[in-house]
Symmetry: C2
Subunit: 215 residues, 2 copies
Amino acid sequence: MHADPEVVVLRLGHRPGRDNRMTTHVGLTARALGADRVIISGAASGSKGTIEDITDRFGGPFDAELTEEPRGVIRGFEGTVVHLTMYGLPIQAVESEVRSDHEEGSLLVVVGAEKVPFDVYERADYNVGVTNQPHSEVAGLAVFLDRLFEGRELEREWDDATHRVIPKAIGKQVEPTEAAGSADDATLTDTDAVDGAEPSDDTHRLRGDGRPDEE
Amino acid sequence: MHADPEVVVLRLGHRPGRDNRMTTHVGLTARALGADRVIISGAASGSKGTIEDITDRFGGPFDAELTEEPRGVIRGFEGTVVHLTMYGLPIQAVESEVRSDHEEGSLLVVVGAEKVPFDVYERADYNVGVTNQPHSEVAGLAVFLDRLFEGRELEREWDDATHRVIPKAIGKQVEPTEAAGSADDATLTDTDAVDGAEPSDDTHRLRGDGRPDEE
């Protein structure tokens, strides 16, 4: 994020079809909460496209990439490797050490889908548990990033957005930015207009991304 | 959580089939990160069963309920209603006020799936954005709960678990608890044995819950 050393999220074990939505949520969470890029292992062009589409509209920089060689990504990563797992050491016990490492260099945050190979546990500099309870890789990633950046990610500015949400106590307001074309020049405050043009879900989730294979 | 006033998560707009996994992750995240119960609107018996199964194995107390009347739940809630939405006020601006309210009484945290009716925005005491970016309701809920409890949820003790994960720097260790039957009395440290008996995914996510309708 910004001038910090890079934070990369690696999504392991994506199973096409079954994992599409979870993988999309991993990527969008990475973007929204301050990571610089997501690398998805496997055939996840739909998720990649959705993440890029959101970045085009709501800003970046943020990159989404696919890889067929996730172990090569981990092995070749020059920096600290953190693997999020319910079997790992408590985040509250290791987070300050991870933050110190991140002040010195880049961070690769590995989140799994199907069973993670044991060599990932061995290669990781930290196996970190956001609780030792089964829950969600999206939740684990979110808490990890919020703690890594100590909330600074919430103040992040976005470049090259065509639209931005104006925070409101009640209701929805989305405005075109200066980067948007003049055709978008009107301020959208009407709920219905916004619903047509914007992520129409109301809870940090897209109601659909127009990709049937994401369902 | 514990002696605190109750925190209830209400999952709105669950669409059977399509949302099963996301709804399960919402419920498991609510449980793992300190909420007392989840109420799911709609036909989500599969998600409810999965959440209950995890609670049976890894402990509680935590309740999962279904409702056909989510608006009644919101309307009748005696306490503070927080609606998580990317259109809301920044969490960092309102969290201390929400925490103060929670010291006084119960909290209902509403997370949507499909489009959230406008009256939810109006009824909510707080519409809160974990960023004003589109990402994931699971991520938003996770960051919200971690900030609400200021990390205390990570130290929570669990009652009536049959198994518990022992945090490890490398590898996986799951042990039966005293609450478990004597047949489980051996300590499971072998990875394969654990994989057979436990949530087999490695990133706070269950590899599958044995319910085809969850896929």
